[in-house]
Symmetry: C2
Subunit: 365 residues, 2 copies
């Protein structure tokens, strides 16, 4: 088991609680920010991992050029919270109501969205009059097989449609999410991001379009941005989680977020926590065993999650008493942030120093 | 594939949206309520599946004796919303702060909680002075291997401790959650509930304690309560979901909740929806394939969920165009309700007639 921090349990916190070690979090932000700056790559962190104005402020202070969001609702929270540069890295299909929400944001901030296909581009043409000032980036599928174009020439067709309608096309972007397949996949995914974005920009250049933003994503690939990439959009790095550690993308000792849960039943074979799928979610990547890691009970495996119970097998190791509170490191931190109203902010000794609202929790649209 | 309703898509709803067919929901409540009433079994529905005051009101109007909740936070929402009888069916480990919250509720409502071990009972002794009027039910493990006592004689030790401290012990309860293993497990789990609760009450009777509430749980087992059971606490039945249909516990044509998502990319092999794990959650019971069912695309399989994307394999079937909105029936409805701020209430023709807040969303403690 990786050497996760020996997290302390805040004295008065009620469980289940989502705690953030602020020094580790700030170190994570600094490490990513300075790492990208040293390579001349812009830092545009994804807020879906934290959904918090307080965290985003620290990211901007550390040099982020703007924020990335997944939904319009998330973007609204941050624009209304004073952030003036957001990229909704999603192939939005805009209804009139959604277009009006974007138009409202454009009065206060630079707003960009993704365009992943000619269908989406043609639909945007019908909305050009209300979306003046909106910036667009063409999404490229760099191997994840999710969204975006595969053939660079499709980008030219999209660019023709969008620019004819008066839109500003500012770049291309991708998410090398196939890096999550395992530690051996990360370097290749980073290369795929670089190669496919560069090929798309080259095809656009040949057609007379000169785009300067080549934006790549994913915490694993952001650690080693490849040639040509001008911007990275990592999210999870801010806290780290078991999956990122397993992928070699985050140092185990720098994980900053943990859940504190109370033991409600205990035996030599298993113990039960007062936190289940409605806290941890059931994200279960192949790279890790079970649904979370317990730094103080390294042999224990979170074998099963119900909505409000975790069943932890002791596997012959030590086990806590009923009433004891334990720290658990989630498999995947993004959906965990989404399932709480507040973060408990602690210092490295586990002393609570603040509480921050999770401003954009469950803003799914 | 089961014959799910041919859900209509509300005209103006923004996606992703969680929609409830109100007529089907009300029919589900009536069916469960009258089924239990005909057997003389009290109906205490679990609110964790809907977290909505509006839904709970309809359950009480249909004859529910009170509500079941999983957390204190959920109970507070319903007590503050005017409900006067709640059972927190959970082995709470009460801190002083949590005990004070329960004490506050006791001024307005009957409140019961679960006691799953002698450890919990002994801890409650220290809080007896502040918890006057609190009712306690002993939790019995009927085969799920999660929480509760296994040996009926342990109930006597717990009863001795609790009554000596002045607590009112009102019953025993269990959750036959091992019914979720598959359709063949349901009848046996229901029998296990009856057998173990009856044995516990008999042991308590021999020791001089006469308890009248034998409360069982789970939607699958509630459909056929067995001898001796006096109360059922089903939750999921109110909406139904793929898992309940697969277990034979809910008629496919009576599923009442569906997610509406927009297609953001499409090809003959797969299409992508604007809703992922942050809407559907990654609950993936062995009894169903993939992460949701699409009634209008019966061959399609939701193969993969990211935070904000669903990847749907067409498997050679029809596929929607980009921009089309589709209905998806979740695997497990409880965590889906927990991930939205509002339900879109529709009539059977898909016409939106109301919006209800999800009052207790993410109230995890």
């Amino acid at each position: 088991m990786p050497r996760f921090p020996d997290f302390s349990i805040p004295a008065m916190v009620e469980t289940p609680a989502v705690c953030i070690d602020i020094e580790r979090m700030e170190a994570n932000i600094r490490r990513m920010s300075t790492g990208l700056a040293s390579q001349g790559v812009a830092f545009r962190p994804h807020v879906k991992s934290h959904k918090s104005l307080q965290v985003a402020r620290r990211q901007i202070e550390a040099g982020a050029v703007g924020l990335t969001t997944a939904t319009i609702g998330e973007a609204e929270v941050f624009v209304n919270g004073g952030f003036d540069n957001v990229f909704i890295a999603y192939p939005l299909w805009l209804t009139a109501a959604k277009a009006a929400r974007i138009a409202a944001m454009l009065k206060k901030a630079r707003v960009a969205i993704g365009v992943s296909s000619l269908d989406v581009a043609q639909h945007l043409v019908t909305l050009a009059a209300v979306l003046e000032g909106l910036e667009l980036l063409i999404e490229v599928d760099s191997g994840e097989k999710r969204t975006g174009i595969v053939d660079p020439h499709d980008a030219v067709a999209i660019a023709d449609v969008l620019t004819a309608a008066g839109y500003a096309l500012t770049g291309v972007f991708t998410h090398g999410g196939h890096s999550y397949a395992g530690i051996d996949a990360v370097a290749e995914a980073a290369e795929d991001e670089s190669r496919t974005l560069s090929a798309t920009v080259a095809a656009l250049h040949d057609a007379g379009y000169d785009l300067t933003t080549l934006s790549a994503g994913s915490t694993p690939t952001a650690s080693t941005p490849m040639a040509g990439i001008t911007e990275e959009r990592p999210g999870t790095f801010v806290f780290g989680d078991r999956q990122q550690v397993a992928l070699g993308a985050h140092p185990a000792e720098s994980v900053a977020l943990y859940v504190v849960a109370t033991v409600v039943q205990s035996s030599p074979e298993q113990f039960i926590l007062d936190a289940g799928g409605k806290v941890f979610t059931k994200d279960s990547p192949k790279t890790v065993e079970g649904f979370g890691a317990l730094p103080h009970y390294p042999q224990a495996v979170v074998e099963k999650l119900y909505d409000h119970h975790a069943v932890v097998a002791t596997r012959g190791g030590a086990y806590p008493a009923v009433g004891e509170r334990v720290a658990v490191i989630p498999n995947h931190v993004c959906p965990v942030s989404n399932l709480t109203n507040e973060f408990i902010i602690v210092d490295p000794a586990g002393v609570e120093i603040d509480r921050w609202p999770v401003d954009a929790a469950i803003r799914n649209r």
